[in-house]
């Protein structure tokens, strides 16, 4: 039994926005894998819910004419992983989505919820950052667009006003074409766990496959929000894989800011940043056919 005051099942995105605007305390629910837990814990007990769970217009993955991959937010983790488009163009994201929780969670939890929940440990977040994902936000006054990394405000906080909904996640062709990626979820268990550290890499090589043309490195749980390591990326541009492997760990450490909690110490997370950035690069480079001298 859950302490829910009311639930309104929205008939469309516009209807959902209207319902939210009409009730300043209403909470959006989609898959429910975060909201129901908060209700059970008492943090959201007695909540009024607006459900977007049934909205087909928010589900699915498609490819625009210009090659932009559009992931609709109510797509479950398992549908993201199972999407032919994701599998063909950005398999690292499909793999990352497949690391969340267990099978039951992945059949109800959605990628939009993973993003809007705003937690630093979100399994898809660091990979989406390395793909320069852009978010389409729809509100009472129409649509706006925001880069994912600008969307994060602080731990568990995103720039989404009451009455606004995330309505699409977009990845442009130049952000995935020619890239290969890797996500390493480091957790205490092999399933049913949250990341102690998440590390995502996407890499593209020059024509000779010897030098890094572009590298993107992002982390979850290495800072209050998921973060990109732009400085390390800039330094490593033009390096060979073996050169980059020697440097990436210490470069990444200059940009991360993990904290000590009872879950793990700052020092331990730093050790993971150092070690996993190299491992992720190595695996991504191997997929990209990068020649390691």
């Amino acid at each position: 039994m859950y302490d829910i005051k009311s639930i309104y099942e929205a008939k469309s995105v516009d209807d959902a926005i209207k319902a939210l605007s009409g009730d300043p305390k209403a909470v959006v629910i989609c898959g429910g894998s975060d909201v129901l837990i908060k209700i059970r814990e008492g943090k959201l007990s007695g909540a009024s819910l607006v459900s977007i769970n049934g909205l087909e217009e928010l589900k699915g993955v498609s490819l625009d004419e210009d090659g932009t991959i559009v992931i609709l937010p109510a797509t479950t983790f398992s549908k993201v992983t199972g999407s032919k488009i994701i599998e063909k163009y950005i398999p690292a994201l499909g793999f990352a989505a497949d690391q969340a929780g267990g099978p039951q969670l992945r059949h109800v939890g959605t990628i939009g919820g993973n993003v809007c929940n705003g937690v630093t440990s979100a399994d898809t977040a660091s990979t989406l950052l390395t793909l320069n994902a852009e978010l389409e936000i729809t509100g009472p006054n129409g649509k706006r667009s925001v880069k994912l990394e600008d969307f994060y405000e602080g731990p568990g906080k995103v720039k989404l006003s009451h009455g606004e909904l995330l309505t699409a996640i977009k990845i442009k062709k130049p952000d995935y074409e020619g890239f290969d990626g890797c996500y390493i979820k480091y957790a205490m268990r092999n399933a049913m766990d949250i990341a102690t550290l998440g590390c995502a890499v996407h890499v593209k090589f020059d024509g000779s496959k010897t030098k890094i043309d572009e590298l993107r490195l992002a982390f979850g749980v290495a800072a209050p929000t998921p973060i990109r390591c732009y400085k390390a990326e800039a330094v490593l541009k033009g390096r060979t894989v073996s050169e980059a492997l020697g440097e990436i760990g210490s470069l990444a450490l200059l940009e991360v800011n993990p904290r000590t909690s009872w879950r793990a110490s700052k020092e331990f997370r730093e050790q993971l940043v150092r070690e996993l950035s190299g491992r992720a690069l190595k695996e991504a480079a191997a997929k990209a056919g990068g020649v390691s001298s």
């Binding site: 039994m1 092999n190 949250i194 009872w262 331990f268 070690e275 996993l276």
Partner: protein
Amino acid sequence: MGIGVSMKRVDAYEKVTGRAKYTDDLAPKDALVAVVVRSTIANGLIKSFDMSEAEKVPGVVKIFTCFDVPQIKFPTPGHPWSTDISHQDVSDRMLLNRRVRIYGDDIAAVVAQDRIAADKAARLVKVEYEEYPVYTRMEDSMADGAVLNFEEYKENILKKTCFKNEGASFDDAAKEDGIVVVEGLYDTQTVQHCHIEPPVSFAYMANGKIVVVSSTQIPHIVRRVCGQALGIPWGKVRVIKPYIGGGFGNKQEVLYEPLNAWLTSQLGGRAVKLELTREETFAFTRVRHAMQISLKTAVRKDGQLVARKCTLYSNQGGYASHGHAIVMNATSIQRMLYHDEKAIEQEACTVFTNISTGGAMRGYGIPQGIFALESHMDDVALKIGMDPIEFRKKNHMQNGFKDPGTGIPCHSIGLAECIEKGKKYIKWDEKRKAYANRTGDIRYGVGMAIFCYKSCVAPIALETASCRIVLNQDGSVQVQMGATEIGQGIDTAYTQMAAETLGISADNVYVISTQDTDVTPFDPAAYASRQAYISGTALKQTAEIFVEKVLAFASKMLDKPCDTLLIKNNSIVDKNSGDILLSMENLAMEAFYSLTDSVHITAESTYHSTDNTYSFGACFVEIEIDIPVGKIKVLDIINVHDSGVLINPALAEAQVHGGMSMSLGFGLSEQLLFDGKARPLNNNLLDYKLPTSVDTPELAVDFVETVDPTGPYGNKALGETPALPSAPAIRNALLYATGVAVNSLPMNPQKLVEHFKAAGIICKDGGK
């Protein structure tokens, strides 16, 4: 289908089809719901409550507080009662407590129409406290001036005991020329049972009694404690135990049944259900005691143990529960498993703090004791440059041993054969050679540990068990045991035992799974790995009486002497010729409906024992360690057990699998954490790292079947032993792989990385 056959579980069909009824399935639909209001401080006194907001919540029936309950203190552990006051358990709790000793202590109870209303009201209860300092560490709670949990226990020490052999002291023995002294300090952590079904009960009144239906391992003890806690005659309480979803010792404790029994008595006998959440179960029931164990060993260079000194401190948490018995077990194992030529000196101490209360958990102190002991034995072997197996073989228990502390004798031992089997399976010599002195990020190791374990609680405490067998008209029988099925498969084992001794086929034996204290014969029930060994003997003894009665009746019917007859395959047969003379069905029909001699053939008896015997075994493990990220991967693991004769080999293997999984979690990942205010930090299954199926390696199991002369069918303990040796075996494999001794549990990645940095395998700055 008798002894030694892997027959299908008798409850398999019920359980896999979902037809088996558990406590919550049986609760009346209109039962009221009770929720416990918990203190938000860990040490202090309730000054007052403000219920004004809570009482307004629609659906709330009544709120009871610590000021309303009977002011009677009662004990909670599932021990057989002692009529000798000096051996009785500590009575330290009331139904609800004004003096708070743990975070989340039971201070009030809300009864409402449903869970939502009860939860809401519980959150709105306002409490004014007098707060005392909070202690999570034993050294702090024992310090001068620390606030006492109980005035009668000075320095917050529940009990301190010493054991010493006659003759030489450790210090004298250690003076010997050329002797090597090795010291080690070993720490184990707080863990929890994580049974699937949470503690749940419902209580109502009927026919002048309070009836409590509960998910418990110990229905007869629950009856006694409810009687004690409410201050009513024990016969006024009736406890029913249906199928239960695991207990592992946590339900060898009387947790909330007395409160629930009292609540219904205050509400006109209406049914009240009280079910804990997972979060409550983790922190507010019982946990495995964290222990600090220091061991000091004097050994000759040829591997002969000469003298040892052991000091054990056990963190009891807020209340006494099973108390000192558990650290005593961790202590006695040190001197049972290995013999010292000259001296053994031991000190054991149980200390109150304000963390979750320690209680019974599978292994009852031995997982902690064995982790320390078997880690230490590898440290000693390493120090004198001896192979750990050869070193153990030279010193471990031998047949005929009798423990000087408890008097428990060794009647049968297959330990050496267990070690040989495990050694061969893991390819010990080959792999120790291959993995020696490796370098690099990924390294490998093999390690091992051994153990012994008692088969019941005698002669330290009472061992008694009762059984009743009654005949049906078709020649089948009901077997009624006070011993309980808690998922381990004991009903199936009893079916096989009954079939074996009665000569009636297993499909004609109906073991009654539900215990009802109004009709079920007395047995303290499921704990101490005792039920196949002790209650099994009660069953065998009762079956023999039953057979005698059947044969006496057959003798009259057939006009043949009793001693020429026996029961075989559901028939009375001639002992010598094997000829079938009479079916059990025909005999039963005559017995029930004879116009001259009608009798309902039944048998009932109690078995009382003061004897005991040891089970043994060994674990061998091969690991891979990823040094830079501190991760251990178990590549191969085997437990080899000597539990005497196996009643049901398939069930025995399943029992071992479960125990190995428990020891792997204990060794590698599980720990219940508290902050400085003794608030639990990770009392949920996300943050408490119980291994999942994908974290669990293939588990190999083998057995050495000795025939124990004291077991009813040559069998000995197997319930708890599987959970003992994996953690130290992994620790020893890690020691071999890296040269790093990790002496505290769990061996989780952060701890390993810290150790590797300290040892210089990972450079301080993280580089290699």
